[in-house]
Amino acid sequence: MSTKNKKRYAFVIEISKCIDCKACMVGCMAENNVPVAHSRNWVHQKGPNGVYPDLGMSFEPGNCMHCDNPPCERVCPTRATYKREDGIVLVDKDRCIGCKYCMMACPYNARYFDEEKGVVDKCTFCVHRIEAGLDTSCVHTCMTGARTFGDINDPNSDVSKLLAMNEHHVKLSSAGSGPAIFYIY
């Protein structure tokens, strides 16, 4: 299989569009049956910075970055965490023993321990929805279109177009994990 035909799923997030309403977080709770104490995604408020009345504030949504080179996968003693060919990083609940090494390894603090199930859990890129031909839940509900999801190996996808047209960044690039969430400021 040539790399050209391989999918690589990713998010592009346009910071200027996020209004910090947290619909993505609430929708994810429902879609993925997340325990109320946890969240699989987040919106970080940056600010207000400056001194009254010259202030600035922005909002930065995120979730598991589904890294190219996932640190969580490397440390998993049971190989419960694994990366699919399309880049999606998943936790096999049947294999997870709840040791939480992956939680410590993740530079983005994207994982949580599900006490009821006794396993570590996190964002799946809504793989069950993608495979049914749907958008991820957070993209689907976002009122302002701050999140875009798609295949960055497909030059015609919305994510590829956004990346081609805009300067973009990843979080903690120094960690070298190769995150698949790209931020446009």
Binding site: N33, P35, V36, E116
Partner: protein, 237 residues
């Protein structure tokens, strides 16, 4: 009366005790009919697992469920009191609902959570359905009725298809493990702590002890949960 019949009867009594009370239940309590029925069951099966392990003072409490010769006025008040107490404990209450009778609440602090779904699937897979006017699948009454139903099925299987008996026992054991034991002890403890009415306190105590015994009998060889119950009761006192 066999052991199994006694268990069926106790599930029936408990589920009616934790259903919305009407005049009938109030009268059963007041005129001592309920106490007589319970005593009858316990006497019949004194040798059985269900009866013999209950603490003796609980047996005394069960025998004295009804006050002697109530006045007409007291009878009417009792119907209202029972209703108020049931509302306050299990339905809606100010200042606060003390004892939500749903498993999902204890495990997830919400209604129709994972626990309720699991119960619903279990009932369905065994050919049962939740009545339109029935309680939610994880309501205490639904769960008690389900256990009663499994006992009825066990009883039927004993006569017709003995192969099914171990399957049915396993179903009961799993239901206890996955559902009853995760919340019913807490539920009973809450009723005992918060009910202003003797009847609910006694019924909760009966249920706590009875379910502990059931759980132990369904799990021979496992750590005796009855010890925990006794410990629990001592801690309360």
């Amino acid at each position: 009366m066999s052991d199994l019949d006694a268990r069926i009867a106790i599930y029936e009594i408990l589920s009616s005790a934790f259903s919305r009370p009407g005049r009938d239940l109030a009268m059963e309590i007041l005129y001592g009919r309920l106490a007589r029925r319970i005593n009858g069951i316990l006497k019949e099966c004194c040798e059985s697992s269900a009866g013999c392990c209950l603490p003796t003072d609980l047996l005394d409490q069960l025998r004295s469920l009804s006050p002697p010769a109530p006045e007409e006025r007291e009878r009417l008040e009792f119907v209202v009191d029972l209703d108020e107490e049931y509302t306050r404990l299990f339905i809606n209450a100010f200042p606060t609902l003390r004892v939500p009778p749903y498993e999902s609440y204890y495990r997830e602090k919400r209604m129709m959570g994972r626990a309720a779904m699991e119960c619903l699937f279990l009932y369905r897979s065994d050919g049962l359905t939740v009545r339109d006017e029935g309680e939610l699948p994880d309501h205490i009454v639904s769960q008690l009725e389900y256990l009663g139903f499994l006992c009825l099925a066990e009883s039927a299987a004993q006569a017709g298809s003995p192969d099914a008996v171990p399957v049915l026992r396993r179903k009961q054991r799993e239901f206890y493990e996955k559902h009853i034991m995760t919340w019913v002890p807490d539920f009973c403890f809450r009723v005992q702590s918060h009910s202003k009415i003797h009847f609910y306190r006694v019924m909760a105590r009966l249920m706590k002890n009875f379910t502990a015994i059931e759980n132990r009998n369904l799990n021979p060889g496992k750590l005796d949960p009855f010890q925990e119950v006794m410990h629990d009761e001592i801690a309360q006192a």
